[in-house]
């Protein structure tokens, strides 16, 4: 791992090496792909859809019980099956998913999502083998070892400026927001209270990386519901005050959101992420 990172860094600076490195990388990739095809004939593609809800009702940028203003988040450490589950491989498409991180994008840049983008990615693409059985686990966020790397040299989807906090050296794990005719709330979730310096981050006191477990999830037939009504259950949406949470370590407005995601002292609010038949 370390050798490879150093090689990349070196290759960044020396064009000839960059080419060599690229070729080596590709040949390794091809070899892996060939061996996988040869050794795991049972491997198959599995799509897990994600849908946005507000207390059970469909919600989008153009409306619903409230209007969505944003809903994008990173998913990592995906596991399928009972108990602790078995790691599921992400399909690396060079855009929405790398080997380790997937970006789910449920906003379409329309209406209340005017600061968003038209492209959406309402699906998590996995490679699985066999029948994993019921159960889905994943983390919301970017693994710690990738979270503080330079976003300008990161591979997609970690090179997207909208999902990065440049002054904190880390990603916005989740952007979620809604608006009502006279109020609204949004959250940017990510690791905070970090120490060190950018490029040499030593750790973060508040990792803010929720782990989601949907025990009865049927990967072949279910979708993952993201219910913002549950996520914002503790937010007063009629007071026109404290309209945001940016994951600041001393930011009171974040407490109900942390609670909902299981980052607080309690076990989280059931059903922020849950299953629903497709």
């Amino acid at each position: 791992m370390e050798t490879s990172a150093a090689g990349l860094q070196l290759a960044e600076q020396v064009p000839i090496l960059k080419t060599i490195f690229k070729h080596v990388k590709y040949s390794v990739l091809i070899a892996c792909t060939l061996s996988m095809a040869a050794c795991s004939p049972a491997g198959r593609s599995l799509d897990i859809p994600f849908v946005a809800r507000w207390n059970g009702e469909p919600v989008s940028c153009s409306g619903g019980p409230v209007a969505l203003t944003d809903l994008r988040f990173f998913v990592s450490d995906v596991r399928l099956g009972e108990g602790d589950g078995t790691p599921a491989a992400l399909q690396n498409d060079g855009r929405w998913q790398s080997d380790r991180v997937a970006l789910i994008d449920l906003e379409d840049g329309q209406a209340a999502c005017r600061n968003g983008s038209p492209d959406m990615q309402p699906v998590l693409r996995l490679n699985v083998s066999g029948n994993p059985g019921p159960g889905l686990r994943f983390s919301i966020g970017v693994p710690e070892d990738l979270n503080h790397a330079n976003p300008l040299t990161a591979e997609p989807p970690l090179n997207y400026s909208v999902m990065h906090w440049h002054w904190l050296s880390g990603y916005k794990f989740m952007r979620a927001g809604i608006e009502t005719p006279d109020d609204g709330f949004w959250v940017h979730l990510g690791s905070t209270a970090c120490s060190g310096t950018i490029g040499n981050i030593e750790g973060c006191r508040q990792p803010n990386r929720p782990t989601i477990h949907i025990a009865d999830f049927d990967a072949g037939a279910d979708a993952v519901v993201v219910d913002l009504g549950r996520l914002f259950a503790g937010i007063d949406l009629r007071d026109s005050a404290a309209t945001r949470c940016m994951s600041g370590p001393g930011e009171d407005a974040c407490a109900p959101v942390y609670e909902a995601l299981g980052l607080g002292d309690a076990g989280g609010i059931a059903g922020v992420f849950r299953r629903s038949a497709r």
Binding site: G7, L10, Q13, V14, P15, I16, L17, K18, I20, H23, V24, N115, S117, N150, P151, L152, T153, N159, Y160, S161, V162, H164, H166, W167, L168, S169, H188, T192, A193, C194, S195, G196, T197, I198, G199, I201, R205, Q206, R244, M246, G248, P249, G250
Partner: protein, 376 residues
């Protein structure tokens, strides 16, 4: 290609890179008076004249903002020592920043950047926040990387300058190289030609008798100014290429004490905003005092309009806000620095101190054509 060949290639290239990094930096001719330290430069972005030239165009290019209205120079105006004269900066879409634009003069020596971010020590990283930040919107380019790439790939000048600035890079048109060039230009804005510098260099007449008296007051234990604003760059958050230890300081200077509970306004809590540690409330980095006479208004939120008001504040040992939502006596802020203590100052001493502060202005850096707008 077999393994030994690749390994050898890596080793040779590694040596070459190391050699290039250090030699480029050594060979760069800093325009510094004898005895002044050279700034530390990141090994992956050595200084070069062509990079500075490219960075200068980018620094003054309004096309790097969402609506083509705001360049870096919009908030960092040369004549004002690269500040903007406003209490708080204003972004491309009109959004008010919680804090004021800081001077860029000698920012190459800053051990940390911005008003209160202990994580941020490289200009290359800092440049990304005004470009892509959303809260507040500054230049407003979040999600618009492709627009920047299209600009630098299609503009005739940039098609010439990027390859010159990054000659060994087979694809020089990148956001990474954009911020590297801007950082190189900004890092090059160094200044050691104030009346005070000339005085230190042996020209006893460079300081008026009043300024000389003010200098003694500034460095006195009575006023304590130099504890936070000391050293060659008049800030304790300074470093340079031969620094033995990196000095980083953040201080609560008693500007607020909201509700007499030690708090600062919610949008400007200083280091506390990033750490959440109670004693970090209201701790901000002491800015350089070089060119301080031209960078009004003062403090992180521009809430003190003049140097006189700043002296009032420190003379009292903190500001008493007597009305409005931020009411409270900053003098009694429990997190206040021990160096901010009430002191006696006669009217003539105040004039002397002001004369010294004015002697820190370097007219040459405010007018040097090398730092000016190349589009004009």
């Amino acid at each position: 290609m077999n393994r030994p060949v690749i390994a050898t290639a890596f080793i040779v290239a590694g040596l070459a890179v190391t050699w290039l990094a250090s030699v480029s930096d050594e060979s760069y001719h800093w325009r510094l008076p004898e005895g002044e330290p050279r700034p530390a430069v990141p090994a992956d972005n050595p200084m070069s004249d062509s990079k500075i030239e490219l960075g200068r165009w980018l620094f003054y290019d309004t096309r790097l903002s969402v609506n083509d209205t705001l360049a870096c120079s919009g908030c960092h105006v040369q004549a004002l020592a690269f500040t903007d004269g406003r209490p708080r900066a204003v972004g491309a879409t009109g959004e008010l920043h919680p804090r004021g634009a800081m001077s860029l003069v000698n920012v190459a020596y800053a051990s940390r950047l911005t008003w209160a971010n202990h994580l941020l020590d490289r200009l290359e990283d800092q440049a990304l926040t005004p470009l892509f930040g959303e809260v507040p919107v500054e230049m407003g380019m979040a999600g618009r990387e492709t627009e920047i790439l299209e600009l630098i790939r299609s503009d005739d000048r940039y098609r010439r300058l990027f390859p010159q600035a990054f000659p060994t890079d087979e694809s020089p048109y990148s956001i990474l190289n954009t911020v590297r060039a801007i950082a190189s230009f900004v890092r090059n804005i160094v200044s050691f030609d104030s009346a005070y510098d000339r005085y230190l260099a042996g020209d006893a007449a460079a300081l008026s008798p009043a300024a000389e008296r003010g200098m003694k007051l500034f460095f006195s234990e009575r006023l304590e100014c130099f504890h936070c604003h000391g050293g060659f760059n008049f800030t304790d958050s300074s470093t340079h290429v031969s620094a033995i230890v990196e000095s980083v300081g953040y201080h609560n200077n008693g500007l607020y004490n909201v509700g007499n509970e030690g708090r600062y306004p919610d949008d400007n809590t200083g280091l506390y905003d990033l750490t959440g540690i109670p004693h970090d409330m209201g701790r901000f980095r002491a800015p350089t005092l070089r060119n301080i006479a031209v960078t009004a208004p003062y403090m992180h939120d521009g809430s003190l309009p003049t140097l006189d008001a700043v002296i009032d504040h420190y003379q009292r040992g903190g500001r008493n806000v007597t009305s409005g939502p931020y009411r409270g006596d900053g003098k009694r802020n429990p997190y206040k620095s021990v160096f901010v203590r009430e002191f006696e100052l006669s009217a003539s001493e105040r004039q002397d101190l002001l004369a010294f502060l004015r002697s820190l202005t370097d007219e040459s850096v405010l007018t040097n054509p090398a730092f000016s707008n190349p589009f004009e």
